[in-house]
């Protein structure tokens, strides 16, 4: 598993490198938007661990790195890392194309797990991101007539709620009597909706938080 770490704090980069499982090889590091785009294009990693806040570029931070590496999105997955609680930061990188979001305080084992999950094509949702999603899409389930992208289905809502409550994917699967694979499918569907939806409420929600 080849990863690139993008973070402007050298101390955090080295700490994260030491924390990661030996099966994860760090093939590059970058501290600014420009460096990140260059290093990612050169190293072509499986996963990029991307800080949301980065100096350089046009001030777009992690979002700008993803748009700058748009050509690689098919082979390289982005996992957003942040200390920020601000919804605008998190949702902006997700909508740019990141496959997940975790906080910087999580353990090395958890982050390794997240890296493998993202590399396998799944989405990684922290409780907080699940909270943002529920906030943005509303907690009422979709009618069948509704546009699929604009609301979460009843099952997706259940999954998001359990994740927001601190359940792991395994625990969610057990609670809902479904397989882990199904949980992952639901989470990926939610991620897709979050990235593609142009629903009125979501736009409004985003505009209020200066996302668009």
């Amino acid at each position: 598993m080849r990863v690139v770490i993008v973070d402007d704090h050298a101390i955090f980069r080295s700490g994260l490198k030491a924390d990661l499982d030996p099966s994860v090889v760090v093939v590059g590091e970058a501290g600014t938007v420009e460096q990140a785009v260059e290093v990612i294009a050169a190293a072509r990693p499986d996963v990029v661990l991307l800080d949301v806040h980065l100096p350089g570029g046009r001030g777009g931070g992690g979002r700008e790195v993803i748009t700058g590496s748009a050509a690689l999105l098919a082979t390289t997955r982005f996992l957003a890392l942040s200390v920020s609680d601000a919804a605008e930061d998190v949702v902006a990188v997700i909508r740019a194309g990141a496959r997940g979001y975790v906080t910087k305080t999580i353990s090395g084992a958890e982050i390794t797990d997240a890296v493998f999950r993202v590399a396998g094509g799944d989405a990684v949702f922290s409780p907080r991101l699940a909270g943002f999603v529920l906030d943005a899409f509303g907690t009422a389930p979709a009618d069948i007539a509704d546009d699929e992208l604009d609301k979460l289905s009843a099952r997706e809502l259940e999954v998001m709620r359990l994740i927001a409550r601190g359940y792991s994917y395994k625990e969610v699967a057990k609670e809902l009597f479904i397989s882990i694979k199904t949980v992952e499918t639901h989470v990926s569907a939610v991620l897709r909706k979050l990235q593609l939806s142009s629903r009125h409420e979501l736009t409004k929600w985003a505009a209020e938080r200066r996302l668009l």
């Binding site: 501290g31 601000a86 409550r165």
Partner: protein, 462 residues
């Protein structure tokens, strides 16, 4: 003009008799050195013109070494180094497998060293040839203008020598005004001028018309003043002239005014930033620095360090990410405050995620108290981090408190322990809600639900 770029630059050569002027000139023009030298000597006898020319070139033309040094310091494109740099850095060899922390891209120093000093700069700057030619033509344009002006002056002087009557009284003021305007515009450096042209839309017909009108006014005004010699309607004319001059001068001085205005703006923005910085510094000093000092003194006690770090993190987050537009004292704030209290008291991390929000009521107060009790239990018995999820919808408010402790059986709890039975379950029931506890080897979750009553309906979700 189009053949000019292939000429070697005009530099003084090291192959010299006096100062290397003639051989340098010969290389530049592609003529034999001998011919240039003979021409120079011949010209020296023509009233000293050759001497003057030689001396002028000696002073103005750099030596080959100086030229190389000066060129090396200049980035490939003087106006937009940021635009022209990436191609340079990308061409620097194949990327290694392990990419180290890339250093900030240095300016392409040494692009022209002494060995390549005679290469035309246009060839070296090939990647950005479009911009390069524009800059080039601009540079030469200035020189050509100067040359045309000097030639005109020479022509006028010769014409006077030959006895032709030249209206110097008209030409000199006109030249002075044009020169003044040109100097005024040259005060602005290149980027400013571009910005100004952009801002005032001077590249459009209206902008040019305004500029031309200003210049015409200046010229007309001054000419009228100089040549107006007491004919009819003298007062009226003088007035008109003065107004014209003032209007014209104002237009010509506009760039200066704008420049000063901009500098003033920059300075003001700098002061605002400075104030902001001071405020942030004060806050960091009062909170973060104090905590860091405390952490250093308690470095031996891991529990204390974690607790201090968590408390400080919470405080800083509140300060950084708080939405100033939102009212304080909402249900989510109270739940977060309760979580902070538990975190401070017991040292376990309590992560709160909230969806929706509502005003506090007496019943919500009960919900907060029950949540707090559940968090305390989770921290005390679970031992690890605690997850709290609050969801407020039209149907009511729900709180979930989850830990990953060993779990417990409710009926095993002694009857005299009031924590779970009274403070959580009983309290919720009294306020029209309910509480459920599920516990297993993977942890315990307390679910509190407070349905919205009739009075609460409609103001559920904010």
């Amino acid at each position: 003009m189009t053949t000019a770029p292939v000429r070697p630059p005009l530099v003084r050569s090291s192959d010299r008799v006096i100062a290397g002027v003639c051989s340098g000139l010969a290389v530049h023009l592609g003529w034999p050195v001998r011919m240039v030298r003979i021409g120079m000597v011949v010209a020296a006898f023509a009233g000293g013109a050759g001497l003057a020319f030689y001396g002028w070139l000696w002073i103005m033309v750099p030596t080959a070494d100086e030229n190389a040094k000066r060129n090396a310091r200049r980035p490939a494109s003087p106006i937009a180094p940021a635009v022209s740099l990436p191609p340079v850095s990308l061409q620097s060899g194949p990327a290694p497998d392990v990419v180290p922390f890339p250093p900030s891209v240095p300016p392409p120093a040494g692009e022209y060293d002494a060995g390549t000093a005679f290469q035309p700069p246009a060839r070296a700057a090939a990647p950005g040839s479009g911009t390069w030619f524009r800059i080039r033509s601009m540079r030469y344009g200035k020189e050509i203008l100067l040359g045309v002006g000097l030639l005109l002056v020479a022509a006028i002087l010769i014409a006077r020598l030959l006895g032709v009557e030249v209206p110097l009284g008209t030409l000199i003021p006109a030249a002075a005004i044009l020169g003044g305007a040109a100097i005024a515009w040259m005060q602005l450096d290149e980027t400013r001028r571009a910005g100004l042209v952009d801002k005032t839309k001077a590249d459009q017909a209206g902008g040019w018309a305004r500029l031309a009108a200003g210049l015409a006014l200046v010229v007309a005004g001054v000419l009228v003043m100089v040549s107006g010699s007491g004919s009819w309607q003298q007062t009226w004319l003088a007035l008109l002239a003065s107004v014209a001059v003032l209007g014209g001068v104002a237009l010509v001085l506009l760039p200066w005014g704008l420049k000063f205005w901009r500098d003033l703006e920059t300075e003001r923005a700098g002061r605002v930033r400075e104030t902001e910085r001071a405020e942030i510094a004060a806050h960091l000093h009062d909170s973060v620095l104090q905590t860091l000092a405390l952490i250093q003194r308690r470095a031996g006690n891991e529990h204390d360090v974690v607790r201090l770090a968590r408390a400080q993190e919470r405080e800083l987050r509140g300060w950084l990410f708080k939405d100033p537009a939102r009212d304080a004292g909402q249900l989510s704030d109270r739940v977060k405050a309760a979580a902070a209290e538990v975190e401070d008291g017991l040292g376990n991390a309590v992560d709160v995620v909230t969806v929706g929000d509502t005003e506090m009521t007496e019943r919500h107060e009960a919900l907060v108290q029950a949540s707090r009790e559940a968090m305390l239990n989770a921290a005390r018995h679970g031992g690890g981090p605690v997850s709290v999820y609050l969801e407020v919808s039209d149907g009511g408010a729900e709180v979930f408190v989850k830990d990953r402790g060993p779990g417990f059986e409710l009926h095993n709890v002694p009857h005299d322990r009031l924590g779970v039975r009274e403070s959580i379950i009983g309290r919720m029931k009294r306020h029209g809600g309910n509480a459920a506890i599920s516990s297993g080897p993977d942890g315990t979750e307390v679910r509190l639900r407070l349905p919205a009553d009739v009075a609460d309906n409609g103001e559920g979700k904010s």
